[in-house]
């Protein structure tokens, strides 16, 4: 135990022999040796390998400027697409919604994004068409992505069909056949933020009853 190396993540800092917490939240441990503090914010702090939803703000010759709710705008290189070359640069109008991955997140540098996975495939990344986007806290988006499917999504999925894309930066995209379904799903998700699993299920059941 004494000579084991541990890795510290967000919210923890080492001062000589002691490790101190830098922010309020829950301490998480990923076995064997990763520790970090998780908390819910309305702002997003970029972190490598996070998948986020960004909105195109501007396009420059080399980069798209993308808003990912971070302190600074993120760069999306025009070549960071599957099979991207100088000749087939994609065209995004301002306001396009993109599902992207963070590849570089350093202090005092704009974060860098990519529309490819590690192997260079498109893998679901790219622009999202139609649907509706709403902003939540980072805590809720992490809850929606947690590994046993979040109760609210499961309960909604029993009776409705919808598409969902969750960015770790607190943006959630919902699409469905009819606008009323989209509105119902998005409001159910927003309301579920501070509810327990059972309460979420009850809430969804009530909504379904009202719908019928």
């Amino acid at each position: 135990m004494s000579n084991q190396t541990i890795k510290l993540g967000a919210g923890l800092r080492q001062d000589c022999d002691t490790i101190s917490v830098m922010k309020a939240g829950t301490l998480r441990l990923s076995k064997p040796n990763k520790y970090w503090v998780e908390s819910s914010h309305k702002r997003y702090v970029p972190c490598v390998e996070d998948t986020v939803l960004g909105i195109v703000v501007d396009s420059k010759p080399d980069n798209f400027l993308v808003d990912i709710k971070a302190p600074t705008l993120a760069f999306l290189p025009v070549l960071a697409f599957e099979g991207g070359t100088r000749r087939n640069i994609p065209k995004f109008e301002v306001g396009t919604l993109l599902y992207v991955r963070v590849v570089k997140a350093n202090n005092s540098m704009n974060p860098e994004l990519s529309c490819m996975d590690d192997t260079g495939k498109a893998a679901e990344f790219g622009p999202l068409k139609d649907g509706y986007v709403f902003e939540t806290s980072t805590g809720l988006s992490r809850m929606l992505l947690s590994s046993p499917t979040c109760p609210v999504l499961e309960a909604l999925g029993k009776s409705l069909s919808y598409e969902l894309a969750v960015g770790l930066n607190g943006r959630v995209w919902v699409n469905a056949a009819s606008p009323s379904t989209v509105i119902l799903v998005s409001n159910a998700i927003i309301n579920s933020e501070f509810l327990s699993g059972v309460q979420q299920k009850i809430m969804v059941e009530k909504l379904m009853k009202r719908l019928q």
Binding site: V57, D67, P71, L73, P179, L184
Partner: protein, 439 residues
């Protein structure tokens, strides 16, 4: 430039399109129908004249203050009402600190017009001396969170704060009969403002060339909307102001429809505000009523109970003096407490605290009569004690007790040496003591 880009809130094309298509089928993104208002909550602060209004996610704080000023030349016998807005950058990243933006000025003007030009607040009752001093009422509106429809929320906040505001009572007098004396709220009950009617602002948003109309737009709908109209209307259906902002033109028939809807909503909101104000006022009154008995209980009853316990013992010890029991009881109780206080027992503390509080300094003599009752009661008790002592000089037990009373009087003097009145009293008491001992 880039930094500013990063801090502004922006909307994706998807959202814009979705909001428009959903509205085409009478659906709104937060699940409301086109003519549904969001949930309205009104809270009041601890002090009079402060209100906090939440309309959905929108959060507005308002605060009313007053000041005596010289009136305007053309209106020598009218007070003034002014509205100030403060848009915190915390509410919305697009708000800049310091200089008020275009929207901040518009919001202030719409509310100002609604309240002032419809003469909702009686201005002539704010006059103290015509041409010399009038009350100037200042309403500060702080936008804490922008969730859309700031005008309505700010208007409700301003009304709620004005309804609970109380200006201090003032009279004209003084040496030359011209000075304005502002009375302390503790001395004279502050007066509420006279408000004739409640002008309620109701905002409509128009989409797709004025074909679609919704009430109370959210932040997202405000970004998408083509035009906006605010109708300020009271519960009687009188139109106070109409503000049409945004480029899109609308038909006059639509305006009339808006006004009809607005008058229904205004009646609804008026009743909500009135209910909230009423509950606040009853709470305030209850707070007032409760305070006095509590302090009285603290000051009088606590030592009384102690007295009684020992009084019973004393009676048990001396059963032979039944004839003058009533007087004796009084005296005995005093002796008990006094002997305890002089011996430095724990019961001295409340009494000493009380005396240092209520002992009027020469400068504050004017306030003496307005002090709560219990203090006067204590004093009278003391006096009656002295009376008793004087009337029964022949009893030896009582002379001894009067000795302790005198001792306690000295003790009191040392407790509060600054007080002039006490000094005088203790002298009297010394005299009494001397007289009783000699006789």
């Amino acid at each position: 430039m880039e930094q500013r880009w990063a801090s502004t809130w922006r909307m994706s094309v998807n959202e814009r399109k979705f909001i428009e298509t959903a509205l085409a089928s009478d659906l709104r993104v937060d699940g409301r129908r086109p003519f549904d208002y969001r949930r309205l909550t009104i809270k009041f602060g601890r002090e009079d004249g402060s209100a906090e209004v939440q309309l959905g996610q929108t959060h507005v704080l308002s605060y009313v203050t007053s000041q005596l000023v010289q009136p305007y030349r053309d209106r020598p016998n009218e007070g003034s009402l002014s509205i100030f807005t403060e848009f915190s950058p915390m509410a919305d990243p697009s708000f800049e600190a310091g200089r008020p933006g275009e929207f901040a000025i518009e919001l202030g003007r719409v509310i100002d017009r609604g309240l002032r030009e419809s003469r909702a607040v009686d201005m002539e009752s704010l006059c103290v001396v015509a041409g010399k001093s009038v009350w100037s009422i200042r309403v500060d509106l702080h936008i804490i969170d922008n969730g859309g429809n700031l005008v309505d929320a700010a208007n409700i906040a301003a009304l709620a704060a004005l309804l609970t505001f109380r200006r201090p009572e003032c009279t004209v007098g003084g040496e030359n009969g011209q000075d304005v004396i502002i009375h302390d709220p503790e001395v004279m009950e502050p007066l509420p403002l006279i408000i004739h009617h409640l002008p309620i602002a109701v905002t409509f948003a128009f989409f797709s060339d004025g074909n679609i109309m919704v009430i109370d737009p959210t932040h997202k709908e405000e970004v998408v909307m083509g035009g906006r109209m605010t109708a300020t209307i009271n519960s009687n259906g009188d139109v106070c102001t109409v503000q049409k902002a945004g480029g899109e033109g609308i038909m006059s028939s639509v305006v009339m429809q808006c006004l009809r809807v607005a008058s229904v909503k205004a009646a609804d909101i008026t009743s909500k505000i009135k209910n909230a104000v009423e509950t606040y006022n009853t709470e305030r009154a209850l707070r007032k009523v409760k305070r006095h008995p509590l302090t009285a209980a603290h000051r009088v009853i606590v030592p009384d109970v102690i007295m009684k316990n020992e009084q019973v013992e004393n009676i048990g010890h001396r059963p032979d003096k039944n004839s003058r029991q009533d007087d004796e009881m009084l005296v005995d109780t005093k002796t008990c407490t006094n002997s305890e206080s002089s011996s430095g027992g724990r019961h001295t503390d409340p009494f000493v605290g009380g005396s240092s509080n209520w002992d009027p300094y020469p400068g504050r003599v004017g306030k003496l009569q307005d002090l709560p009752g219990p203090l006067m009661v204590i004093k009278e008790e003391l006096r009656s004690d002295e009376m008793v002592i004087e009337s029964t000089p022949e009893l030896s037990t009582i002379t001894s007790s009067s000795g302790t009373v005198g001792a306690s009087g000295v003790k009191q003097q040392t407790n509060a040496p600054k007080s002039l009145k006490d000094a005088v009293k203790s002298k009297n008491r010394k005299k009494n003591k001397a007289s009783t001992t000699t006789s």
